[in-house]
């Protein structure tokens, strides 16, 4: 399986307060990779590193086969980027912004750009400084898509947008991916949004990658278990115990990762009874994952 993005042992420090340590990340070609993490976890910094906007202190970053930052211009010509905050020149009109952007991308598709202008109901003569947040979000997405990129890097593209605009923007991305088999790297703290569209997920917290796995493993592997007569020490379990909470009487609630149904026999072996296995949605799994990650550091 080839990788659209490969990051190895990257270290970056921004001042004294924040650093990214030992970051290793792998985005398979053609995948939709959801990059999850709470605010301030390092998602935007990671994106800026992989686009060559920031330079790491050490480590190797390869995007679309090109070494970053050395080959950044060549890679950026094949990459559509939607930043966290609008970054376009506010004194330009929509039409001027399109012409400016198109001048830098040899693969720019005017026909499709025109279609997207109509689809997103953007006023070509409207000044960017007067666009609403939703219109600006749609324009940023339009610019990223109309250059026909092999890789789309979206940094919280729907943050702060209303549900209608959010649906428009995500639909445009999904349409594009279905046509082009492009790779999408999308960061968000809106877990439900990624749950529906991504097939891989990476979780970032406090400058470190906490987990990276296929979405189905993430969704199916994290369970809440109700256990009777649980042993005081879990010992050598075939799954990862993320948390244990004592409930009423002899019952306990466990949150585990890497769960598979045959593992229920382990409880019989230690004299406990597994009463119930509850599916956790992605958000609950995400919260439990972060909680476990943070415990040793608290």
């Amino acid at each position: 399986m080839s990788s659209a993005i490969e990051i190895r042992d990257v270290h970056y420090r921004a001042g004294k307060a924040f650093e990214i340590r030992d970051l290793a990340l792998n985005v398979p070609t053609g995948s939709m990779y959801g990059f999850l993490g709470p605010n301030g976890s390092g998602k935007t910094t990671t994106i800026r590193l992989l686009l060559g906007l920031l330079r790491p202190r050490q480590g190797i970053i390869t995007v679309l086969g090109g070494s970053i930052p050395r080959e950044a211009p060549r890679v950026l010509a094949r990459t559509g980027y939607v930043p966290e905050l609008p970054h376009l020149y506010p004194s330009l009109t929509v039409a001027e912004a399109l012409h400016f952007h198109a001048a830098f991308y040899p693969t720019w598709d005017w026909k499709w750009a025109d279609e997207l202008v109509l689809q997103f109901q953007l006023d070509r003569g409207g000044l960017l400084s007067r666009l609403s947040k939703g219109e600006m979000g749609k324009l940023e997405m339009l610019l990223a898509l109309a250059q026909r990129p092999e890789l789309l890097v979206l940094d919280e593209p729907t943050d702060g947008l209303d549900p209608v605009v959010r649906r428009d923007v995500l639909t445009a991305v999904l349409d594009y991916v279905s046509q082009q088999n492009a790779t999408v790297f999308i960061s968000s703290h809106l877990v439900h949004e990624l749950e529906r569209i991504c097939d891989w997920v990476g979780v970032m917290d406090r400058g470190r990658l906490v987990a990276e796995l296929p979405m189905h493993s993430f969704k199916n592997g994290i369970k809440r278990l109700r256990v009777l007569n649980a042993p005081a020490l879990a010992g050598d379990t075939p799954f990862v115990v993320l948390s244990r909470d004592a409930a009423n009487g002899s019952a306990e609630t466990w949150v585990v990762r890497g769960w598979q149904p045959p593992m229920s026999q382990w409880f019989t072996g230690v004299g406990a009874t597994l009463k119930e296995v509850i599916d956790l949605d992605l958000e609950e799994g995400f919260v439990e994952l972060l909680r476990t990650f943070r415990v040793p550091q608290a």
Partner: protein, 217 residues
């Protein structure tokens, strides 16, 4: 690509540039306007005095335009913290060169205005014997002054806020050292020497000093 950059820079700096073109065209004409009513010996004296007095405005105009166009070339990128510029698929040096080149092209307009204004001004007055018109030399000097100061301001305004802080900090340090050494009885003129280093040859701003004469002996 260059056209796109040129268009944005035109849009950001078109008002000061248009004013600069008008002023550049009008300056030579205004500098000889008073002379037509005077004749004889006094015509020569009046012409030289008038041309010299108005001549002060050429370096002021050139430096002002260079400052504005240089600063406006980067203002939008500074506002967006350079994220857009850095995410474009061009090397950073190439992008800076495109922005610099666009400014040079735009500043050619006021230079041309000074040249055309100078030719018209010298063609509309009778130049006394012994004096000569130098509209092309004046425009060439104006061009040199504009482009040198533009390069300087472009480089300064390309710097980050942190860099501006370092420059201001260095200036403040020089000032403090000068005050302390003067208080201690040693007469050191660090600021004056710094200024002289800038405006006296081979300082880069030497090009703005001296006499700016459209008509001279």
């Amino acid at each position: 690509m260059f056209r796109a950059i040129l268009y944005t820079q035109w849009k950001w700096s078109r008002f000061p540039l248009l004013l600069g073109v008008l002023a550049g065209f009008a300056l030579p004409l205004l500098s000889v306007q008073r002379v037509s009513s005077v004749t004889g010996y006094w015509q020569t004296r009046t012409m030289l005095a008038s041309v010299q007095a108005w001549g002060i405005l050429y370096p002021i105009l050139g430096a002002s335009l260079a400052l504005l166009v240089g600063a406006l070339a980067w203002a939008a990128d500074h506002r967006g913290r350079h994220v857009y510029a850095l995410s474009l698929p061009v090397p950073r040096w190439h992008y800076a060169l495109l922005r610099f080149g666009a400014g040079v092209v735009l500043l050619a307009a006021p230079v041309m205005a000074v040249w055309i204004g100078g030719i018209l001004a010298t063609a509309t007055v009778t130049i006394p014997t012994g004096l000569h018109a130098y509209p092309t030399m004046l425009a060439a000097r104006f061009a040199l002054a504009v482009f040198v100061t533009y390069a300087l301001f472009f480089a300064i305004s390309a710097g980050t806020v942190r860099m501006a802080g370092y420059v201001l900090g260095a200036l403040a340090t020089v000032l403090v050292v000068e005050v302390i050494t003067n208080a201690a009885g040693a007469h050191v003129s660090l600021l004056e020497n710094l200024l002289l280093a800038l405006v006296v040859w081979p300082g880069p701003l030497d090009v703005l000093t001296g006499r700016w004469m459209l008509i001279d002996v």
